[in-house]
């Protein structure tokens, strides 16, 4: 009898707990990697008399899908986390309202990929390759510098990439190769990938799997080169135990014209319950105080040109001079075909 009473008590407590909320709540739907310093957010809450409620929707693609499916009765007021590979889809689905925030003035024009201002750029990062310094030093190998280098015999069985069908970095890298090689002439992206296959490239389904299980620097894997984020080395240095080494254990390979720039956007959902607060929050996200918090929280670059970028980034998370350039509309239109062709070449 006492056991059942305890069970009942737990269940009632469950129902009762979610009863507490401030008078005004702003709901933000983000992907699971969203992070910010509490005091920075608290400042916004205090200034506007609002409680921020964040919901994680999974990765970028999942979050967007949920936002699209809940059209008409949106899950939140603000949507953050759509990147430029999904931008076309977000705009086509018509779930956002335009907002030309005054903060856009501080944001470089080439980041503002949506002329209708329905999706505003918050941050950007680069997908390139990381390499294991120790491995190359021990083996006395020269670190590859271009995409073509990766297909050289000396680099056989050293590369691990992610499946573009299931992973955003994987897709980003594929797009970068397409942008770099094109599909005309002698050296097409298709022939490049064929040569990578001959060079025993390892394909896995997700970035975590590639990085933590197959990348040699993490201790288990045998592959010293992995498709990853340009800020990963900086992160590794920051996360290292004291005393910290002078340089990170990993380095970046930033092939010319073949680094994919991933931009992340924020937008106000149609049917938001608190449109004014939503606009204020978007302004806030583009403001210097929030933007300066971004690098050490999410390990990407702030879009606001005026925001301070930490020393660590400047030293170990370089910005490529010429990133790969692809039109978001083209991505949306060709993604399926590209992935299919790629699978045919690399997996089958």
């Amino acid at each position: 009898m006492r056991k059942s009473a305890l069970l009942l008590a737990i269940c009632i407590a469950q129902v009762a707990v979610p009863g507490f909320a401030a008078p005004r709540v702003l709901r933000v739907l983000t992907h699971s990697s969203f992070a910010a310093t509490p005091s920075v957010l608290a400042a916004f809450e205090a200034a506007n008399g609002v409680t921020l409620q964040f919901s994680a929707g999974g990765d970028g693609g999942e979050t967007l899908t949920k936002a699209i499916l809940s059209k008409g009765n949106p899950l939140a007021d603000v949507l953050y986390g759509v990147d430029n590979t999904f931008l076309g889809r977000a705009l086509d689905a018509d779930i956002l309202v335009p907002y030309a925030s005054p903060a856009l003035a501080s944001i470089p024009a080439d980041l503002q990929t949506d002329p209708s201002h329905r999706m505003l750029p918050v941050d950007f990062g680069y997908i390139d390759l990381n390499y294991d310094r120790k491995y190359f030093a021990d083996k006395g190998l020269a670190v590859p510098r271009t995409l073509e280098d990766l297909a050289a015999p000396a680099m056989k069985s050293l590369l691990v990439v992610e499946n573009p069908a299931t992973s955003t970095p994987g897709l980003a890298f594929l797009i970068a190769t397409i942008a770099h090689f094109g599909d005309k002439g002698q050296a097409t992206w298709q022939s490049y990938w064929a040569s990578l296959r001959r060079n025993d490239v390892l394909v896995v389904n997700g970035w975590e799997d590639a990085y933590y299980n197959e990348f040699s620097e993490q201790g288990k894997g045998r592959r010293p080169i992995v498709v990853s984020y340009a800020t990963s080395p900086a992160y590794e240095l920051n996360a290292a135990a004291d005393p910290k080494p002078a340089v990170p254990p990993t380095g970046n390979i930033i092939p010319e014209g073949a680094s994919f720039r991933q931009i992340e956007f924020v937008g106000i959902l149609k049917g938001a319950r608190e449109p004014d607060l939503a606009r204020k929050f978007v302004d806030f996200m583009l403001s210097e105080s929030f933007q300066a918090d971004i690098p050490m929280q999410m390990w990407v670059y702030p879009s606001n040109a005026k925001a301070a970028v930490p020393e660590l980034f400047r030293k170990f998370a370089p910005v490529p001079s010429t990133p790969a350039a692809i039109d978001p509309a083209a991505i949306e239109a060709n993604r399926d075909a590209w992935i299919k062709a790629w699978s045919q070449i690399v997996l089958k």
Binding site: C11, A13, T166, K220
Partner: protein, 566 residues
Amino acid sequence: MVADRAQVRAGIGTAAGARAAFAAVPVLFLVIFLIYPLVRILALGFGPIAQTGLGAIRQAAVDTDLGRLLLSSAGQALLSTILTLAAGLPVAWIFATYRFPGKELLRALLMIPFVLPTVVVGSGFASLLGSGGLLEKLAGLLTGSAGIHLSIMRTLPAVLLAHVFYNVSIVVRIVGGAWSAIDPRLGEAARVLGAGRRASFFRVTLRLLLPSLAASAMLVFAFCFSSFGVILILGGPRISTLETEIYRQAVYMFNLPAAALLSVVQLLVTAAVMFGYSRFQARSSTIQNLKPQRVTTHAPRKAAEWLLVALCGLIPTIGLLVPMGSLILGSFGYWKNLFATTGHSLFWISPGLAAINSLAFATEAALLSLALGVPAAYLLAHRPSRHGGAAGAALSTLDVLFLLPLGTSAVSLGFGFIVGFNSPPLNFRGAWFLIPVAHALVALPLVIRSLLPSLRALNPRLRDAASVLGASPGRVRREIDFPILRRAFVSAAAFAFTVSLGEFGATAILTRPELVTLPVLIYTALGRPGASNQGQALALSTMLTLACAAGLLAIERFRAPGPEAF
């Protein structure tokens, strides 16, 4: 005797109306929380196709390479089922025949995999089977060469191993439970009549075990058929199934029509398998005089028996502990970080609170699935077994309906929840109860399937005897059914509890910040970069394991009145 069989069949006909009314509740539950969201999301997908007609469907089938997906899904599911049965039967046998120290612990241990998120298991298996893993080290030791590289990650064997790891408990619980209630004198009678050991086993024991074997085989098949995380991580890019493709199409491609088509195919295939199983099940059930464990089990007497028990018990124990052990080992050093709050503000609640949420939801889900599953099981158990005609077909359809959550793509269902419960009058998308509801939905087929074989085997005359002695129908249930079928009820509750604890998909979709559960927290930790976060994810997984074990042991303690342990 003819009259005898007929009596038994038609016997409790007077209460049929009441039973049907009771069973209407789970049916209603399924219609609202399964059928309706599914229909909504599929309609969304099929809408565009409907306009362009069948040609578009055929095109979508070609585009997604439907035939190959079907083959691969069914193939790996079938292989997994066979292997799981092979792995589970010896363990079921020792559970059914012997009493030995550590039996309860092993029983609980077997169920832990259910609760572990597939991503965590994936990394556990990776550290064993992948590069730099245990397998590689062993191979190096055996062959004497240090630089050997052996990895079976991203291959079919890895997938099959993981499936066996996850599902062996189903076979052990359901088959082992039924086996431990078989009257040992039946086998002895067969042997006296001239059947050798083997013949006696095949003709008597196996025949009586057919319903539970079929039930566990069907459950394992359904789980493996719609397996997601394991395929993605351990199968790698070269292995894809209907479920992974549904996810890809829905989320990555946002090609809802293709996702809808694949969902329907998946549903139809599973429904067909379930329907076939259901017909077989009805015909193969026999009424038995179920015996308690005191009668059917004994401590091993000879050295040979001890050896057998040790083998059959230790092998799965090792098979389970090694992956789990690697998880626990990987978490060392990160426990402190778990409870520090620096940097973890968003999506991060205290692990203690997440644990409480998980346990609370699991309890609610278990109670809900029992409340729904028991009437449903009773309805399905008393049906006229050799009866053809409309009633028999209707009950088989109901049977399949109750099994349907197993064959439904979790992705489709999750999205169906978002679409379906988006607007009034069913506007409870944000409601907290949707989480235990979603969990109960997934657990319901397991609950019913655990109960059915035993329910059907219970001698109905025992109920008659109790009834005549003055026990009202409810009292009969309490005094007769529950104590004798205790094993099955405990298994059902254990399954429901465990499934709920480990459930991630629906919870992630529906969760509010304060209702975060341990699996959601684990995924959050895994989604962040850094070895520290990975380590914390492992620590959380260990917490989940402990919570699960505690809960399971508590459930085992539920004893019915009476001296006999069934």
